[in-house]
């Protein structure tokens, strides 16, 4: 256990050369994005590819995408915690980190999309509860604050551990360890209380995940627009969110495993389980996609059919079919058999799913906007370099935050791993015994 603890704390002790290179590159991308954003603010949204009738472009796509990624934390950490899945232990920390670090970019995506970002505070000064956008703002804020607290509670024992292990840590980091470890000593009483709190928080987070995803989908679902106006959007968004989120967690876990040499901590069996989770979510998403498209096709209302044909056979057909291939056709068979659920394949499948799900968000967002009910000419939308730069910068900064995090805290929850080794076996045994008939 001590050896593992040392291994988990090693990245904090010093940065490798690869780490410095990665940080430099990502920081450059982020700076470029910042330049693009300043350019956009001074010139107006005219520098984007958005126009009329495609009024919402990839900023909104990114918004949905980052909210989706953020949902994985709640699923892997909260749901697996509630269902007492013991294999969750190496993932909880990084799942929560993904949630906490991706949500700010969801908010920033909206911010980048506003024509008047300087008036953002109007949402607080003159809120109008009728608008689904306001529900969005409230839901995302609430989710962010809740998951931040959840994240922090899970961190406390490890902050205390770091405080003990790195007494010489100076500057911001030392201050952080001392300030945020509070009075944690690690008594059984404290651990018990911590588990009670995280348990309660897990229930709250699961409720929030359903609410946040649904509200985000309602920005579109409650509109009149054919292609958006469908009741399936809530469940569809939740499933898609979890699907892309678990894929991101798989990628982060694989990266951490490789760069920090955590092969004995995050084992193939963990990836195997994540693979099963991905497979299930992928199949549900596929089912919902089929349900939606078949319903539209047989209902055959002209306005809805126009959107469907734009997606399946019109100007968006290449994107639609690459989404189908990237999300379902290649990854699902790969995830289906135990033999092919290797770590390497899981990484390949996850990369495909992340890209495919981003495209899926695009397919949801853009085609319905290109068609107007009145006989206007068909709309077009091509994102410009400004939009791509800001998108890349968001992804880069998100990764930077994760990287920076590994330099301050262990990316795998040390206390939860320890608990898994010391207390969990007895607890599991007791639980299994309780299921048995009395005779």
């Amino acid at each position: 256990m001590i050896a593992i603890q040392e291994k988990l704390l090693k990245p904090i002790a010093g940065a490798s050369k690869g780490y410095r290179t990665a940080v430099t590159l990502l920081a450059l991308v982020a700076l470029w994005g910042l330049f693009a954003w300043i350019y956009q603010i001074t010139r107006g949204l005219g520098v984007t590819g958005m126009n009329k009738p495609v009024l919402w472009g990839i900023y909104m796509v990114n918004f949905i995408f980052f909210v989706g990624v953020a949902h994985a934390g709640a699923l892997v950490s909260a749901v697996l915690r509630l269902s007492r899945a013991e294999w969750r232990r190496p993932f909880t920390r990084l799942a929560e980190a993904v949630t906490v670090f991706s949500l700010p970019f969801a908010a920033l995506s909206i911010f980048a999309d506003l024509g008047r970002p300087d008036r953002f505070f109007h949402l607080v000064l003159f809120p109008r509860l009728n608008s689904p956008i306001l529900w969005d703002v409230m839901a995302v804020t609430l989710y962010f604050l809740s998951s931040l607290l959840f994240f922090y509670y899970g961190l406390i024992p490890d902050i205390a551990l770091c405080r003990g292990q790195f007494p010489s840590a100076t500057g911001l980091r030392g201050w952080f360890y001392r300030k945020f470890a509070r009075t944690w000593r690690g008594t059984p009483e404290e651990t018990h209380r911590l588990n009670r709190i995280t348990g309660g928080f897990s229930v709250w987070l699961v409720i929030l995940v359903v609410a946040v995803s649904t509200v985000v989908s309602w920005v579109f679902g409650l509109s009149y627009k054919p292609g958006w106006h469908t009741a399936i959007f809530g469940p569809y968004f939740i499933t898609g969110a979890l699907f892309s989120g678990v894929a991101v967690i798989t990628l982060v876990a694989a990266a951490a495993r490789r760069s920090f040499g955590l092969g004995e901590v995050i084992k193939p069996v963990h990836f195997d389980n994540l693979g099963k989770l991905l497979l299930t979510l992928g199949l549900v998403l596929f089912y919902l996609t089929v349900a939606e498209y078949v319903t539209t096709f047989y209902g055959a209302q002209p306005e809805h059919m126009a959107v469907l044909s734009a997606r399946v056979g019109g100007q968006f057909a290449p994107l639609f079919w690459s989404m189908i291939v990237l999300c379902f056709v290649i990854p699902l068979p790969m995830l289906f058999r135990k033999k092919t659920r290797t770590v390497r394949n899981m990484v390949i499948a996850s990369v495909m799913i992340v890209i495919g799900m981003w495209i899926e968000r695009f397919i949801i967002m853009i085609p319905p906007q290109t068609l107007m009910p009145l006989p206007y000419p068909l709309g077009h939308y091509t994102p410009t370099w400004v939009e791509w730069s800001i998108t890349a910068a968001f992804l880069a900064t998100f990764t930077l935050l994760l990287l920076g995090f590994t330099r301050i805290f262990p990316i795998v929850s040390v206390w939860e791993l320890k608990e898994g080794k010391t207390e969990a076996p007895a607890e599991v045994q007791k639980r299994v015994a309780a299921y048995q008939p009395e005779v």
Partner: protein, 296 residues
Amino acid sequence: MTHFPAGRPSSRDGLPEGSEEIMKTDEKIPKELTRAQFLKLGGAGLAAIAAGGLAQRALAKENPGQKATRRQWAMVIDLTRCIGCEACTVACQQENNTPPAPHADVGRMRAWNQVIFKEEGETPFAKIKYHPRPCFHCEHPSCVKVCPVGATYRDEKRGIVLVDYARCIGCRYCAANCPYGARYFNWSKPEWSKNRGNASNPGVPMRPKGVIEKCTFCIQRIRAAEERAAREGREIRDGEVVPACNQTCMGRARFFGDLNDPNSQVSKLIRSGRAYRLAEHYGNEPNVYYLAEVRP
């Protein structure tokens, strides 16, 4: 480069001096309206604010200054007379200072009054049908419903839908949710040709970049008529308010008036049996009516 008429130095956002003020003080959404809507939503926990709002509303009702005739301004467009010349579009752009789209960018064009062309029938019997489309100033506007800050609202006194340029945050949800495509976004600072000189209309504020704009039924002309009538101590006469598009229409196809007055010209016209509205299945209840084309 932005050009404004001489003698009016541009301030923040490239607006002429004072237009922020005009926008702030004028046509501001009454506070009690949003509060009443809170109530409608059953916003629990806001009872205290709501009560305050109701009190304010009651006070406002007793205030004689607020007691004005409620009008429902509406437009009727006779398609038998429309020749699709698009003069209404040009007149509207002149009147309301809508700048041309930069670089002939069709997707960024601003035409508060746009003529929609639709081909009907098959060759050789095909025919183009015109639908001049201002904002429809709907009874149940789907744009107002989704605005997160109440920047777009229905002026119940006049029965028209307006935008508070000083409050709009530019999220464009209203435009995405308008089935008629009547809303336009300021993608960049307004740009004018240098030759334009002093040709802008001083009675209409320029819109800054990043906000939504749309047809106002020429609110400046409605207001002028209201002031004139108040000064002379009378009601506004039928036909006294003429929006720019109506004024310029060479086929005299457009009519404007108060639907709350059963004897107004528009009221009579919509009872004619030829009247219909566009895409009624969205339930927006537009206040712009078309008179079906009668072919000779």
